[in-house]
């Protein structure tokens, strides 16, 4: 009897995947999305989303950086001198970003070339440092880690959604540059729908605007619109 209550108490204190822990991951996906609700990390969301594949790589990289920088900051939070805490956070983030850069160079050089400067710019992504300041400095490692994963995923989700829209309408393909490449619509035989021969889609042409970073702004705007019309409690927040 006594042992069970103890177990329950312990479980209440530090459950691995309790309700709160789950919310740490699911909240940033919708109600507290870093891009559409907090409007952070827009710069890279505009820059890397013209194709899906680099967006996915970027999303994975950011999840890795937010998760492990949150974990590291949280582990060190009681030792970090307050006067230099931001510099310490930046050192941690920069280290992890360098790890990502070296790994990418090792595993997939063409994508490394394609993302080029934006990998380095993860360091300045407000989402990462924002979560370290707001959450990891005051929370335990496991929860910080989950918060990092959640926010990284929330960012990545929007990135990939924007990437899909931009690539399909801008280039007529999906996952270009990866082994999964799908050619959907275009003016050669390589595409599923060949606009040269198809009678139904003869009028179709790729939208060049979609290739430009400005298109990401429109797409994100539309995503915010849809999200807020479905989730009305967000409307007052802004």
């Amino acid at each position: 009897m006594s042992t069970t209550t103890q177990e329950v108490k312990q479980a209440e204190k530090e459950p691995l995947f309790g309700k709160k822990e789950r919310r740490l991951i699911t909240d940033p996906l919708n109600d507290n999305n870093p891009i559409t609700v907090q409007v952070l990390g827009i710069c890279s969301a505009l820059a890397v989303t013209s194709l899906v594949y680099p967006s996915v790589v970027m999303a994975v990289a950011v999840v890795f950086v937010t998760a492990f920088s949150s974990l590291a900051t949280s582990l060190l939070r009681n030792y970090i001198p307050k006067s230099v805490r931001m510099i310490v956070q930046l050192v941690i983030i920069a280290t992890l970003v360098t790890v990502v850069e070296l790994t990418l160079k090792y595993l997939n050089y063409p994508v490394y070339k394609q993302l080029s400067v934006y990998i380095g710019l993860i360091i300045t992504n407000c989402i990462v440092m924002g979560r370290l300041e707001a959450f990891s400095m005051a929370n335990k490692p496991w929860r910080s880690f989950l918060d990092g994963i959640g926010n990284g995923l929330g960012y990545g989700l929007i990135l990939i959604a924007v990437g899909v829209v931009r690539e399909v309408f801008g280039k007529g393909s999906l996952f270009a540059g990866s082994p999964l490449e799908m050619k959907i619509i275009g003016n050669t035989e390589a595409y599923w729908i060949n606009t040269e021969t198809s009678t139904m889609f003869g009028w179709y042409a790729n939208n060049n605007l979609m290739v430009l970073p400005a298109a990401a702004m429109f797409v994100i705007g539309i995503i915010i619109w849809i999200q807020r019309s479905r989730n009305t409690k967000l409307v007052d927040v802004s």
Binding site: S50, Y79, I80, P81, K82, S83, V84, I87, V88, V91, T95, T98, V99, L102, T103, K105, Y106, Y109, P110, K113, S116, V117, G170, N208, L209, V211, L212, P213
Partner: protein
């Protein structure tokens, strides 16, 4: 806890740990990363001669790229006087670094592709676009005049506009069949012409609407880049003509 000594010691330990960690990681991945970069650059050369290899440069596996270069390519490095430089491999030439040197000191890579008596010379050029550097590989046929293929790349041109020099295959394809010299054998280069090339002019290609600065950058890059190769090409042509005379 907040005294200066603690702060300094903390930061010192943190940065030292990070430095050691990253050094190890870099050392461990260095060789493979260098190989990846080399294959990436070789693919760029292959994409200039897609007509000759009959394959998209992306369709070769990494091993095939290395094998193809061993089997069918010879490479050399020349200077702007056309002299062949010994003891240096074209693979080691970094055009970004060469571009910063004065022209007289530049070293220029030449890749010669040979397949069944068919010879193609691939030359590298580098210049400036609108935002940052642009570069390309130009493949010349055995007459050292007719372009058989070209491929361009860039660091940060605007997607959909300047970036079309890489993304739109039509731009590079337009270079095929153009000539870099006039009938007298004088160098004229190839002009990327705003508003479209004059029909039948072998020294002009269509520009890209909305990307005039990048297109002008390509024109300038070809003019200065190919001109540096001219002494070498002229020497080669001289040798070729002598050979033909002897045969006669």
């Amino acid at each position: 806890m907040e005294n200066n000594r603690y702060v300094i010691i903390f930061v010192f330990i943190l940065t030292a740990t990070v430095a050691v960690l990253l050094t190890f990681l870099r050392e461990a991945t260095k060789d493979q990363a260098a190989l990846n970069e080399e294959i990436f650059n070789k693919r760029a050369i292959l994409s200039a001669i897609e007509d000759k290899t009959g394959k998209d440069s992306g369709e070769f596996t990494d091993e095939e790229v290395v094998q193809l270069f061993e089997a069918k390519f010879t490479q050399k490095v020349v200077n702007v006087e056309g002299e062949t430089l010994e003891g240096v491999s074209a693979d080691d030439i970094d055009m970004a670094k060469e571009k910063k040197k004065p022209e007289s000191e530049r070293r220029l890579p030449v890749y010669i592709y040979e397949d069944g008596g068919d010879k193609v010379y691939v030359l590298s050029v580098r210049g400036n676009g609108l935002w940052d550097e642009i570069w390309g590989n130009i493949a010349l046929a055995e007459d050292l005049n007719t372009v058989v293929g070209a491929a361009f790349d860039h660091k940060g041109e605007t997607p959909g506009l300047g970036a079309e020099i890489k993304d739109n295959p039509t731009f590079a394809n337009n270079f095929k069949g153009k000539q870099i010299m006039d009938n007298d054998g004088d160098f004229v280069s190839i002009l990327v012409r705003k508003g479209g090339a004059e029909p039948g002019n072998p020294h002009q290609v269509d520009g890209i609407s909305g990307a005039t600065v990048t297109a002008n950058g390509v024109t300038k890059m070809l003019e200065s880049g190919l001109e540096n190769y001219m002494p070498y090409l002229n020497d080669l042509r001289g040798e070729g003509q002598q050979g033909m005379l002897q045969e006669q």
